[in-house]
């Protein structure tokens, strides 16, 4: 394969062994899976199905839509793919199995008769003053990210960081967080982290590096030939250090490079304003929003994701007295932003440029009539709003999109209202791709003696046309500061192990400019160094990271900013609060130069579009098990990446899903499996960056997916035309989690179906048209919701919501309370408890999830991982449906393959009142609590899995193998001490974060008071950037959750089963434009 070839060429023979590994991991082996080879239905057939008699239909995957016999067969299983997979994925012979079992029975027998071993206690010598063992402490810091730091509160148990939460007092984030931030905790404990500096492959120490580097640079006098290649610098202190270095060594250079660098936006800003500025969008004031390929609801890859998505969601809540915002999205790759939009237009990259220039030009003519109509309607809607509109371009939008956004926003009068321009979050803004190109030219010319890479990994992610590797080999001294001995670190002369941000001092700017001091939570686990330490080698090596940050902080903290008071107090306050007051950017008053928008004509032919991965960004989180396993937004791919294309292109080429194809662009080739992406534009292929790491990247990242950087070039970092696709490279079974949670049920309930011809056997229910007929997803347009506020329970004329069409229960979904098959044993309003004035209000826990606000960003899922010690199971186990996540985001597509709608529904244990699981457990391992929670008693569970079979929501997870890592020391530090680590053979599921409930209950009981509303936040609720999840006491009439559940739009999923779930959903409301309907 191509990468292997590259690495051998440049690096020479010394790394033979590694190269071998390299070959293995980048190869996509052809599988012999017969299921994948079976021909599916053609496009025409799929269309016929969709256009059939039924107007509405929901579906989750192409397989399901195609409804092949193979799929039907799969769905006959209660748990598709689990049952036939056997215990182990790799086959173990019967004899081998018996041997293993014999041994484990013997051990189990022995273990049963042995006492617990003696457990030692290691008390402190001198206990730290503020430490109360058993009580966590919280410290404020921030997660540095190139688009702006995310302020966090670190939950620290005996000084081990065990959970990250958003900082609720921070003016920008207001306590919200995102998937990357949540998962960055696991990076700290990553067992593959580099543990010591290396020099030419041998263990070394930082002192030797200091000596050699300082001396070498001193000898150059001017610093000529010394180049720092850094990540985007958002730390004011690091920028100040660089200033000192460039004063001392004027010839030294700094180049910043990130693969996802937002160059286009900066170039557009420079063209319009003459300098670099960031745009901050204020969506709370925007009635009409147009996004030009900006995925602003997808994650912190979009600068200001937290405030922007929160403001969008707030304005997208339905309230009959308020104007709901309307979002139009023009994009290539279907993203969560596109599917949350009221109108989405799928265009290939060059068509987006044409659209953007036509938009900026005020009219324009597009060849595609649909796009032209969209453009006309959007333009009119934007203009109608009277300045309460905004056009958004994101870090991955093209230059044309940015130029159009700038021009439109100023002509709409949006500047100063819905968008403001400020200084850049990047302390030293630059056009990174151009800078890197110049650097490589210098390297090739032999002008670079010392290449110091601060946290970057160019051997992996530099644009392919630069041939960075051969340039790299011409640099005599390369230094790599990195958390892992990655592709670059392995081949560098020097490797310095980088400290994690939870281990080191630095500072960082959030998106709004607010500076946070990043303080260490724990002594560096492996004595790592930060970029500050490396810069300081050339300045004053005796100063530590703390010294430089504290010294530089004097320029922005306290009296220096006119805040009064002494520095020490202000410094302590900044550390305590997690941000420095008065450091937010002031909006600039700028006038954009009017640029004539040159009309762009779309290119013909197949285009490739590069996007960062919604789970691992540009590859930096590649070795993070939580994120690798996280099903990606929209596609639900876990552990892989695929070439995403639409059915038309697949049909034209004759490609099947899961088929590996060869993509050729400018003579460079990669082999990629294909996944059908509903709503993807024609003649375009989207690939995500960041996968296909080599063996050096670590045990999780290595060998996963394919490397799209191998095609990406400097002149077209976003998209390029001229892609060729060749078939015949075998099959690759992609790991997609979608079909795992489809519930099986019998023919019995099938009789009521209106469209039973699609499902003649009655084999599956949660997906398919039943999702609509059984009203798993309910929504209405604003007009419908205003006409009938109770549409959630009465249905809508358009069929967006149909209620009580199908079900087990003769009364539909509203059985009388007494109709329960089981005696009404559990009441939660015992008069002797609730009635007495002095008694504490009895708790009755419940949850409400707003489907209007949920953007499917996955932050909740990762937060749940960290809070509940959920195990990572690995690709092969995920593929057979054994993923352990307690909550998942179900994506239901609806309608036409080309322009589907999609609905996101977080699905977690519903805590049913008459739960099916409880009634079938033979050992009482899952029981009801007096507060209405369905709780698991792990030590009772014997693993019959009856409960899981009887759960219609499919939210129970079984430890088929010993998934929890009992051996790796560093991972043990991360675990939440208040949650059991589950062993093999045990069922587990969402507990509503029972440990958090109990902790607050104990505190409240101790003080003889009722629990206040909002005092208990579940981990998912706390992480949710759009406040879609609300948890609380249903017995408290003032609680938010009680009010939400009293709303007319509140509904339960599969209510007709009379399981009476405690979790309910608020039906969505869309705000479509009648002219586009």
């Amino acid at each position: 394969m191509s990468h292997a070839g590259n690495s051998e060429q440049g690096i020479g023979n010394s790394v033979d062994a590694r190269s071998q590994d390299v070959q293995v991991v980048t190869e996509i082996a052809a599988t012999t899976s017969t299921a994948a080879v079976k021909p599916k239905m053609t496009l025409a057939e799929v269309r016929a199905k969709l256009d059939g008699k039924s107007g509405k239909r929901y579906w989750k995957s192409l397989d399901e839509l195609a409804d092949t016999p193979a799929f039907q067969e799969l769905m006959q299983e209660e748990f598709p793919r689990q049952a036939n997979a056997g215990e182990w994925v790799d086959s173990v012979s019967r004899r081998g199995f018996l041997k293993v079992m014999g041994a484990s029975f013997a051990l189990a027998g022995l273990a049963g008769c042995t006492k617990q071993p003696d457990e030692p206690i290691f008390p402190y010598i001198k206990q730290p003053e503020d430490l109360v063992l058993g009580r966590p402490m919280y410290f404020a810091t921030a997660h540095p990210f190139p688009t702006g730091a995310i302020p966090v509160l670190v939950k620290s148990d005996a000084f081990r960081p065990i959970k990250l939460e958003g900082n609720p007092e921070h003016p920008m984030s207001k306590g919200k967080s995102d998937a990357f931030t949540q998962a960055s905790l696991l990076d700290l404990y990553d067992p593959d982290r580099s543990q010591h500096p290396r020099f030419r492959g041998e263990q070394s120490d930082f002192g030797s590096f200091q000596q050699e580097f300082a001396k070498a640079v001193q000898d150059t006098k001017t610093g000529a030939g010394v180049v720092f290649l850094s990540e985007t610098i958002t730390s004011p202190t690091l920028a100040a250090q660089w200033k000192q270095i460039s004063t001392k060594y004027p010839a030294a250079k700094l180049v910043q490079y990130e693969p996802a660098n937002g160059d286009a936006g900066r170039a557009a800003s420079k063209a319009a304003f003459g300098d670099y500025y960031d745009a901050q969008y204020k969506l709370q004031d925007a009635d009409v929003i147009l996004s030009l390929d900006a995925d602003f609801l997808g994650g912190i890859g979009f600068p200001g994701f937290l405030p922007v998505s929160a403001a969008w969601a707030e304005r997208h809540r339905f309230d009959k007295d308020k104007t709901m915002n309307r979002l139009y999205v023009v994009e290539t790759n279907p993203t969560v932003t596109g599917f949350k939009a009221d109108h989405r237009l799928a265009l290939k990259p060059s068509e987006i440029d044409a659209f953007a220039s036509a938009l900026a030009g005020g009219s324009g003519s597009l060849s595609d009539p649909d796009a032209q109509k969209f453009l006309t309607v959007v333009l009119e809607d934007l203009k109608k709003s009277g300045g309460r509109a905004v056009v958004i371009a994101g870090p991955q939008s093209s230059m044309a999109a940015h130029a159009a956004a700038l021009a439109m926003n100023s002509s709409l009068g949006a500047v100063g209202k819905t968008v403001v321009y400020t200084e850049t979050v990047a302390a030293i803004p630059s056009e990174q791709t151009a800078d890197l190109k110049a650097l490589v030219a210098d390297m090739n010319a032999g002008k670079v003696q010392w290449l110091v890479m601060l946290g970057t990994n160019p051997l992996y992610n530099a644009p392919a046309d630069l041939e960075f590797e051969s340039a790299f080999n011409k640099v005599p001294n390369s230094v790599h500061l990195g958390s892992h001995l990655d592709e670059t670190g392995f081949y560098s002369t020097w490797h310095i192990n980088k400290s994690h941000y939870l281990e080191s001092w630095t500072d960082a700017r959030a998106y709004d400019g607010t500076i946070s001091i990043v303080q260490p939570m724990i002594d560096p686990l492996y004595g790592g160094k930060s970029a500050h330490d490396v810069f300081q080698v050339l300045l004053d090596p005796s100063l530590s990271g703390y010294d430089v940050v504290a010294a530089n902080a004097k320029t922005y903290i306290g009296s220096a900013k006119g805040g009064g008071g002494d520095f020490a107090t202000a410094w302590r306050k900044a550390l305590h609060d997690g941000w420095v007051e008065g450091t937010a950017f002031e909006p600039k008053t700028l006038t954009a130069k009017t640029m004539p928008a040159a009309p762009v004509t779309p290119v013909s032919g197949v285009e490739i579009s590069y996007k960062t991965d919604s789970s691992i960004y540009d590859g930096r989180y590649g070795n993070n098990g939580w994120l690798q396993e996280l099903p990606k937004q929209v596609t639900s791919i876990s552990w892989d990446n695929a070439a995403l294309m639409n059915m038309d292109l697949m049909g034209k080429m004759g490609i099947e899903e899961n088929e590996a194809v060869e993509l050729t662009l400018n003579g460079r080739k990669i082999i990629v499996p294909v996944l059908m992406s509903p709503g993807h534009p024609n003649d375009a292929v989207t690939v995500t960056l960041g996968q296909g790491r080599r063996a050096e990247a670590g045990r999780v990242a290595a060998g996963v997916g394919f490397n799209a950087y191998a095609l990406r070039t400097t002149d077209a970092p976003g998209a390029q035309s001229g892609l060729q696709i060749a078939r015949g490279k075998g099959f690759y079974d992609l790991c997609v989690t979608k079909v795992h949670n489809i519930e099986h049920r019998g023919k019995f309930a099938q009789q009521d179906l209106e469209h039973k011809k699609f499902d003649t056997e009655g084999t599956y229910s949660l997906a398919g048209h039943e999702a609509q007929e059984r009203s798993i997803i309910r929504y209405a347009t604003v007009a419908e919701a205003l006409a009938n506020p109770n549409y959630t329970h009465e249905g809508t004329a358009s069929g967006n919501t149909t209620v009580n069409k199908v079900g087990y229960n003769p009364q539909g979904e509203a059985p009388e309370h007494d109709d329960s098959f089981y005696p009404d044993a559990w009441r939660y309003d015992h008069p002797e408890v609730v009635g007495a004035a002095q008694k504490v209000l009895q708790n009755k826990w419940g949850m409400s999830i707003d489907l209007n606000s949920c953007v499917g960003c996955n932050a909740c899922v990762v937060s749940c991982y960290a809070e509940n010690n959920i195990a990572v199971v690995g690709r092969e186990q995920v593929k057979i449906g054994r993923i352990m996540q307690w909550m998942r985001i179900d994506t239901y597509f609806e309608g036409d393959l080309h322009a589907p709608k999609a609905h996101f529904q977080p699905m977690l244990c519903q805590h049913c009142e008459s739960a099916g699981c409880e009634q079938v457990c033979p050992v009482g391992a899952t029981v009801h609590t007096p507060e209405g929670i369905n709780t698991m008693v792990y030590n009772r569970c014997v693993g019959t899995r009856y409960c899981s079979n009887n759960c219609p929501y499919k939210v129970r997870r079984f430890n088929f193998l010993l998934y929890a890592d009992y051996d790796t020391e560093s991972l043990k530090f991360q675990r939440n001490p208040d949650v059991s680590v589950r062993s093999r053979g045990v069922m587990e599921k969402c507990s509503y974060c029972i440990q958090r409930i109990e902790a607050v209950k104990i505190d409240a009981d101790k003080n003889n008071r009722a629990i206040e509303d909002g005092e208990i936040l579940t981990a998912c609720q706390q992480a949710c950037p759009t406040d879609a999840i609300v948890f609380g006491n249903l017995n408290d009439p003032k609680a938010r959750v009680t009010k939400l559940k009293a709303e007319e739009r509140d509904y339960q999923v599969l209510a007709d089963l009379n399981y009476r779930p405690r979790t309910s959903y608020t039906a969505g409301v869309f705000n479509p434009n009648a002219e586009l309907a």
């Binding site: 109360v132 009580r135 004035a837 208040d978 109990e998 101790k1006």
Partner: protein, 293 residues
């Protein structure tokens, strides 16, 4: 051919059937008692500790209060094992050369922990919380026994789930006034040694809600005199039924002398405290999630 089995084989066969049954039953009984035996539960065992620390000497002999060492018992799930510093506070002055204390001095000098062996060791899936127990009127001795009479620490109770549930299903039997939590010799009220309790009319943290005395508050008890106000004589020996089901808010809030109720049995006191301390119902207390997460 002669019979293979003699007639007596019938009896033998029957006997062996009975015997098998007996063996199965005996095995069951044996396993059951093994499960509850001190060998498994470690009840009463004294593991070899690095220092033969005597609670008897320090508590009974010197009168150290429990919280001098177990500092976090009121505010955390974990009562706390004292750091070496706590030992050194005194033992830098007294018994500075005692051979027994060598591990302590070694720890202090080298910074290595004294490696104790856990005596009260619950399984890892049990989330016991000291804080709520001591704040709700469960004394140390209720679970740990007369620690002040243990020269070497041992586990007084089985710490098995049935033992926990015995109390969680009927917490009244072990409740005591929070002022007596650390009193090792508290025995509960009896006919001979009654207890007089009063509840403050205002709500507040549990520990401050109730005060109890062991001397008759009528007979010029100094404890009561300090609180100001002479108790109402007619409350003496009043029928406790009146108080059952009533909450403190039902009492007049006007400044009235503390009214004491006399208790002569633990059952009555338990009911009184259950009400005043707002102990959750047995149903709630014995729910699984209370200990298992």
């Amino acid at each position: 051919m002669a019979q293979v089995f003699d007639r007596s084989s019938n009896a033998l066969a029957r006997a062996s059937l009975v015997l098998t049954g007996l063996i199965v039953i005996a095995l069951g009984v044996a396993l059951n008692s093994l499960q509850r035996s001190p060998w498994v539960t470690r009840q009463g065992q004294r593991p070899d500790q690095p220092v033969p620390f005597s609670h008897k000497h320090h508590v009974e002999g010197l009168g150290l209060q429990c919280q001098y060492c177990h500092t976090s018992v009121e505010k955390s799930s974990y009562a706390g094992i004292p750091p070496t510093k706590t030992c050194i506070n005194c033992h830098s002055q007294i018994w500075t050369n005692a051979q027994l204390l060598e591990p302590v001095r070694h720890s202090w000098a080298t910074g290595e922990s004294i490696q104790w062996i856990k005596v009260h060791d619950l399984p890892d899936y049990v989330y016991f919380n000291h804080e709520i127990h001591v704040n709700k009127g469960i004394g140390c001795a209720s679970c740990h026994g007369r620690v002040d009479q243990m020269p070497l620490m041992y586990q007084q109770n089985t710490l098995q789930m049935e033992w926990c549930l015995n109390c969680h299903r009927n917490p009244g039997v072990n409740l005591r006034p929070t002022s007596e939590i650390y009193n090792m010799s508290w025995a509960g009220p009896s006919k001979d040694k009654p207890v007089w309790c009063t509840a403050s009319p205002t709500s507040g943290p549990t520990a401050q809600g109730v005060s109890c005395v062991t001397k008759d508050p009528e007979n010029n008890n100094p404890e009561v005199a300090l609180m100001g106000g002479k108790p109402l004589g007619n409350l003496r020996g009043m029928n406790l039924q009146l108080f059952d089901g009533r909450t403190s808010s039902d009492m007049p809030v006007i400044a009235m002398p503390a009214s004491y109720v006399k208790f002569t049995s633990q059952i009555d006191l338990g009911h009184f405290l259950q009400d005043k301390y707002h102990i959750r119902t047995a149903n709630e207390l014995s729910s699984c999630e209370v200990c298992h997460r």
